[in-house]
Amino acid sequence: MIITHALTKWFNGFAAVDAFSLHVRAGEVVVLLGPNGAGKTTTVRMLSAVLKPTSGRATVVGFDTVHDARAVRQHVGVLTEMPGLYLRMTPLPYLDFFGQLWGLSPRQRAERSELLLRRFDLWEVRNQRLAEYSKGMKQKLAIIRTMLHDPPVLLLDEPTSAMDPHSAKLVRDAIISLRNDRRAIVVCTHNLAEAELLADHIAIIRRGRLVSLGTPIELKAQMLGPPLMEVRLVGSVDGLSPRVADIVDVEAQGKDWLRYRTGEPETVNPRLLRRLAALGRQVVTLGQVPRTLEDVYLRVMEEPS
């Protein structure tokens, strides 16, 4: 659905996006992570054929973003960083205006508008001017505008910013539902928990360059090493480390627990359990120490460029 090859954009002598290559398939959510100014928004603007790349190329739904820019914009729904609504309007005429620009018939415009306004809990406030909407409501309407023409590709820049938890969940559910409908979705966000919830793949961008790409699990393994396991026992673990040293390298230990890393937990963990049983030690729990995407992100950002 989205293929970019060495996509590059220069602004005033510096590279906002530098040789960015990415592949997003139908039914996949790719989250772009990166600090402010990393080039996420510029990437989205190039993918939506709003900006032309300085070099490299991108195709969206088979259309080249430079040569078939209009076709690309017809097939893409873009949620911009700011909602950018016309505040003197009410939602129905507002959506009708954008529906016209996307070439929808009056009936399609009316039906889609009603469907989406109901889905995002805005139907009841359809007669209010947009100026009277809260920040979250404005953001929801901007998302509705993005989905109005039912595009196969969605590019969402900070979709849940300024939303209350309930609204944010509504939006996340909508994104998951769209993914299940085989849409290709790119999400830019700073919300790492949300990224972990939504992403099939995560692309971490720094200073315009793609520095890491993979599933959340792959990224964790790549950036934080093999999973860290913790075994908790009944009684003290003093003097236990040398007796299991041929199976695991103990990295840390407490009063009643040991921590070790293993890339092959399916073989190492049963062996360790057998050894502990043989030593007459009773195991309370054995599990992986949780590692967050935040750890991965911070590790990537700390690395020298």
Binding site: W10, V50, K52, V78, T80, G84, Y86, R88, F98, L101
Partner: protein, 494 residues
């Protein structure tokens, strides 16, 4: 043909979607609506009453002509006041939307840059223009009702046309201003570059109307139409997604400007459109002469051609007008020519003294002034030095011919010995000055307006320093030491 028409209709239909929304939005804003209603409905009535009172009052002092001449002027004012709002609406609709970030969702739709530009331009023009036409109509009806006066048809057409082209100038100027700013505040500051010249123009029109030289108004309509075309061309070129989203803050970055200019100066032509290369830039005089200058001349062949055509046209114009202003015969008597005759040329005051450096300085000054004028007139005034010089040459050639001499021999003796170097230098400088001035109208793909100007300036400087100045130095020496010898040999008696 039919296909093209359908395509054009579809194009217009998309633009009109934007127009309709923007017009509705303007009509919802009481800050725009209230003054327009006042200026459309009440002001014309007030003006027709004022016209009647003024006529009666001036007639009582035996000066009815002043009152009569005032009526068309008030017609102009009644039309102008509502269209002044087109500037406000245009700034609001272009830069206001950009500031509120509501433009970006529009940019992500299938609308083309041209459709967006057309739609918004129409939206900014339609409401004030309709208000203006309505105001003029109410004023004319009021005049007829109060003093039984109906303006002549041609004058009414002139006023309607003037109002229309003035509104377009303001809107298209506002688009240009809007594309260079990111806030309504900055745009309002820059808008004085539009409103002040327009106010001055209205004063000029007022003077023309009191003077009753109504034919001159046609020339003003034509000039404004040209300004419209230039500004619209410029607007279409610079009102695009790249330019709109590439500018985040209105800040002059002198270091960046200097770095960019240096890059354009050192890089070969064409490299400017590529992304900057890492590492140092190297350039040499040999490369400039062998590769860059020929490439630049080839790129500027159109403007060089335009200068040549205008040069010939000026020559012909001078030739054509010469019989109307015949010179005294003693001036054309070459029998008494001597070396001293050339040296006394400097005493005329407006010409330089007859030395190579004075001539060179004079030529350089004219060319630099012409180039500066080019920058401020979007290239139009770059032709001034060469056109006036060639006009004088044509004029003199015809005078010589009238006095019984062969004009070709005159040109060969007086111009050719140094002109073979001087004229090409002047043509080149004029062509590159034209490009310098016009560079902001249509920046090349991938360059901003300021980068386009910097690139044109870098190219201008290369040609000016490396080609024009050496040629002008050589020409100045030839003019002082060779041309008089040739003239005396051809026309002199000893």
């Amino acid at each position: 043909m039919r296909h093209r028409l359908q395509e054009w209709r579809a194009h217009l239909a998309m633009a009109l979607i934007v127009t309709r929304r923007d017009v509705r939005d303007s009509l919802r804003d009481w800050r725009i609506l209230a003054p327009i209603i006042i200026l459309t409905l009440f002001f014309p009535v007030l003006m027709s009453v004022t016209a009647r009172l003024a006529i009666n009052w001036l007639a009582s002092y035996g000066a009815p002509i002043i009152g009569t001449r005032m009526i068309p002027f008030l017609l102009l004012i009644v039309g102008f006041f509502p269209i002044s709002f087109s500037l406000v609406i245009a700034l609001e609709t272009f830069v206001g939307e950009r500031e509120r970030r509501s433009l970006e969702p529009l940019l992500a739709t299938p609308l083309s840059d041209g459709q967006l530009y057309l739609g918004k331009t129409l939206a900014a023009t339609v409401v004030p223009l309709m208000a203006s036409y309505l105001g003029i109509t109410i004023y004319v009806i009021g005049l007829y009702a109060t003093i039984r006066y109906f303006p002549p048809g041609p004058l009414l057409i002139q006023i309607f046309l003037l109002t229309t082209v003035e509104a377009l100038v303001m809107v298209s100027g506002a688009v240009v201003v809007s594309s260079q700013t990111t806030s309504v505040r900055a745009a309002n500051l820059l808008a004085s570059f539009i409103i002040v010249p327009m106010a001055l123009l209205v004063q000029v029109q007022a003077a023309i109307m009191f003077w009753a030289r109504y034919n001159v108004l046609w020339w003003i309509v034509a000039a404004l139409l040209v300004a419209d075309l230039i500004l619209i061309r410029m607007g279409v070129r610079i009102f695009n997604r790249e330019e709109l989203l590439g500018r985040e803050i209105d800040q002059i970055n002198l270091r960046r400007i200097g770095r960019q200019f240096w890059r354009f100066l050192l890089q070969s032509p064409g490299a400017a459109l590529q992304p900057p290369m890492k590492g140092s830039l190297r350039a040499g005089v040999v490369r400039w002469y062998r590769r860059d200058i020929p490439a630049l001349l080839v790129r500027q062949r159109l403007s060089i051609g335009m200068v040549l055509v205008l040069m010939i046209a000026s020559l012909a114009l001078g030739w054509f007008y010469a019989p109307r202003y015949p010179l005294p015969s003693q001036i054309l008597d070459f029998g008494n020519l001597s070396r001293e005759s050339f040296e006394s040329v400097g005493m005329l005051g407006f010409l330089p003294s007859f030395s190579p450096w004075s001539i060179l300085f004079f030529n350089l000054r004219s060319l630099v002034l012409g180039s500066l004028l080019a920058v401020f007139s979007l290239g139009v005034m770059s032709f001034l030095p060469i056109m006036s010089t060639m006009g004088i040459v044509g004029f003199l050639a015809r005078q010589i011919a009238s006095a019984g001499h062969n004009p070709w021999i005159f040109l060969a003796a007086f111009i050719l010995p140094h002109g073979w170097l001087e004229l090409p230098a002047v043509i080149l400088v004029t062509a590159f000055a034209l490009r310098l001035g016009a560079s902001v109208i249509a920046p090349p793909e991938g360059l901003t307006v300021s980068d386009s100007l910097l690139l044109a300036l870098a190219d201008f400087i290369k040609v000016f320093l490396l080609v024009a100045i050496p040629m002008l130095i050589a020409a100045a020496f030839l003019e002082v030491y060779l041309t008089p010898q040739v003239v005396l040999w051809v026309f002199g008696r000893g």
